[in-house]
């Protein structure tokens, strides 16, 4: 039958035609992807539309950022980092820098990998996280300055530099419902040994971290701890619903102001000192102006006291403002923009 014979022996032309369609389509993929990835991920944090080109303010023509290459700034995936990221981004843009903003990347491990693989140039990091998770030191430190000095040296070995660190610190804490604390007479983390078996809810990476489940078991002897993975942010709901007995809360979480929860003290400093500093690849830092650039970051950092950071967190987490709007208002009120 005509039809079958034709099917079995396509002409050369037909085959070439077909392969060229495939090639064209593949080319379209690449083009679409390039177009797609340039209108990048700033929409990821829900509505902030400043997609990352130059400044809005600055009257003087000698803005420190003019003519410098773009900086790819990343952040981790929770509110406080998003706020700090926006603060850096907006202030730097005001000073003439071009910022490729990549918020919401993931946990410490993932963002650090993005940094070392060059996908981002810089991101704000907590001293304790650097010390314990990035560089896997399991010693206990005596002060934030000690921790900073150690970490700075380690980063330098890897080719990264740091800004100075913020006045505020945001440590992981173990939080429980007030009723639970009263029922078991809990004041510090070590008191949990009395309870026997209990559940601890935290984001998944906590399971394998020393500043997490590993340390809680080793340092505080809480061997009967049962880990329940929770996506970041679900911990308060989980506590309220009695899905977990204890949860990993951040010390600057505005939810802690409500009085419903009790934070257990950490006398052994398992969770270290968690002030924030910008970690940046040294090569990129040099291109951006070295010390001049870092001074700008430090200007922002100086404003972040415990009090102001909690207020910023509250505006986003409780009053549902966007990190972008909150950062903008804060910078304006303090004369930076």
């Amino acid at each position: 039958m005509l039809d079958r014979t034709n099917r079995r022996r396509p002409t050369r032309a037909a085959t070439r035609y077909l392969w060229s369609i495939l090639l064209v389509a593949a080319a379209v993929v690449v083009l679409a992807a390039c177009g797609g990835s340039s209108s990048s991920s700033s929409a990821a944090s829900g509505g902030s539309s400043s997609g990352g080109t130059s400044s809005s303010g600055g009257s003087s023509s000698s803005l420190p950022g003019k003519g410098k290459p773009a900086l790819t700034l990343g952040t981790k995936n929770f509110t406080e980092e998003l706020i700090i990221g926006e603060l850096y981004k907006q202030y730097l843009q005001h000073e003439g820098y071009t910022i490729n903003y990549k918020p919401n990347i993931g946990s410490t491990e993932i963002v650090d990998k993005a940094l070392t693989s060059g996908q981002i140039d810089a991101y704000p990091e907590y001293l304790g996280e650097s010390f314990s998770t990035v560089f896997t030191n399991h010693k206990v430190v005596k002060s934030a300055q000690d921790e900073y000095n150690t970490v700075k040296k380690e980063y330098a070995k890897r080719g990264q530099s740091m800004s100075d660190f913020t006045p505020f610190e945001d440590t992981d804490t173990v939080a429980v419902l007030k009723s639970y604390a009263q029922a078991h007479d809990l004041h510090s983390i070590g008191d949990l040994k009395k309870v026997g078996t209990f559940t601890y809810g935290a984001q998944p990476p906590t399971l394998t971290r020393f500043e997490g489940v590993v340390g809680l078991k080793k340092l505080y002897g809480l061997t009967k701890l049962q880990f329940k993975p929770l996506a970041v942010g679900l911990q308060y709901q989980a506590l309220d619903a009695h899905n977990v007995d204890t949860a990993d809360a951040f010390s600057t979480d505005p939810q802690l102001l409500s009085g419903k929860y009790v934070v257990l003290s950490d006398p052994k400093h398992l969770f270290g000192f968690q002030n924030v500093a910008l970690v940046i690849n040294t090569k990129k830092l040099k291109q951006l102006g070295g010390a001049t650039f870092l001074k700008l970051i430090d200007k922002v950092n100086a404003l972040l006291t415990q009090h102001s950071m909690i207020a910023l967190n509250k505006a986003v987490a409780i009053d549902k403002q966007t990190p972008s709007a909150v950062a903008s208002a804060f910078l304006k009120a303090n004369g930076l923009t």
Binding site: V28, G47, N104, F165, Q306, A329
Partner: protein, 243 residues
């Protein structure tokens, strides 16, 4: 307090950030007025990104599937291989596909698009192939007898007759991509999924309902539109064909 930076002479100014309504602060089930006020700034942009992601995935997947289906008609090994890959991909969790791809091409929209196009391919390829294979041989013979070239036969006879399953495939693909694209937000693709992950981080019920509801409405609207398109394009194929 630590020694890192000299404490500023005056404490930093904390502006009034604006308080949300009692509904929002107390996280009631759904805060309608907040949703309406913030729709265009918070919900609309991700919605548009979501539509864009879907459109690109289907738009790119369609020609590739088509070319692949045409090839599969001539080379049977192609079809078997492709079908195996398709069956495999259906049981492989989409989330894992994204996470693994990130290792190869990084955390960005391009990675998400590759994955989304793959899903489109496996749906459309099968439907296009089935459609083309379902064309009555008599029709093709008649066309050849009338002197049509292979290309003309394809364009004027086979394609129109194969349209019902093809359009149905586009419909299934679109709806599937809208669903998978919400998960793609996990690796930074943007879209309505990013709002859902945001909501997971804050527990904000209105955002859960707003983002989830919008995604559902988008999917149903797309489905409905494409059903209409399907019916309009193939009036002769109202009755079921594949049994």
């Amino acid at each position: 307090m630590s020694i890192g930076l000299p404490i500023a002479a005056a404490a930093p100014v904390i502006p009034k950030f604006g308080h949300a309504s009692e509904c929002v602060v107390a996280n009631h089930q759904f805060c309608g007025s907040w949703f309406v006020d913030n729709f265009s700034s918070r919900f609309l942009p991700p919605l548009l990104v979501h539509i864009e992601l879907t459109a690109i995935a289907v738009g790119v997947g369609l020609p590739i599937s088509f070319a692949a289906a045409l090839l599969a008609r001539h080379y049977h090994w192609f079809e078997t291989g492709f079908s195996l890959f398709a069956a495999f991909l259906y049981t492989w969790p989409a989330l894992a596909f994204f996470v693994i791809m990130v290792q190869i091409t990084g955390i960005n929209r391009f990675t998400a698009e590759i994955a989304l196009v793959s899903y489109t391919l496996l749906i459309l390829f099968r439907n296009i192939l089935t459609g083309l294979q379902g064309v009555p041989p008599d029709a093709v013979e008649a066309a050849r007898a009338m002197g049509y070239t292979q290309r003309q036969t394809l364009l004027r006879v086979e394609l129109p007759l194969a349209l019902p399953p093809i359009v149905a495939g586009i419909r299934i693909a679109t709806v599937t991509i809208i669903s998978v694209a919400t998960v793609a937000a996990y690796i930074g693709a943007g879209g309505l999924g990013s709002l859902i992950f945001d909501a997971i981080g804050t527990g904000f019920k209105t955002e859960f309902i707003g983002a989830g509801g919008l995604a559902v409405l988008l999917a149903l609207a797309a489905d409905g539109l494409l059903v209409g398109l399907q019916r309009a394009m193939t009036p002769w194929a109202r009755r079921s064909i594949a049994r």
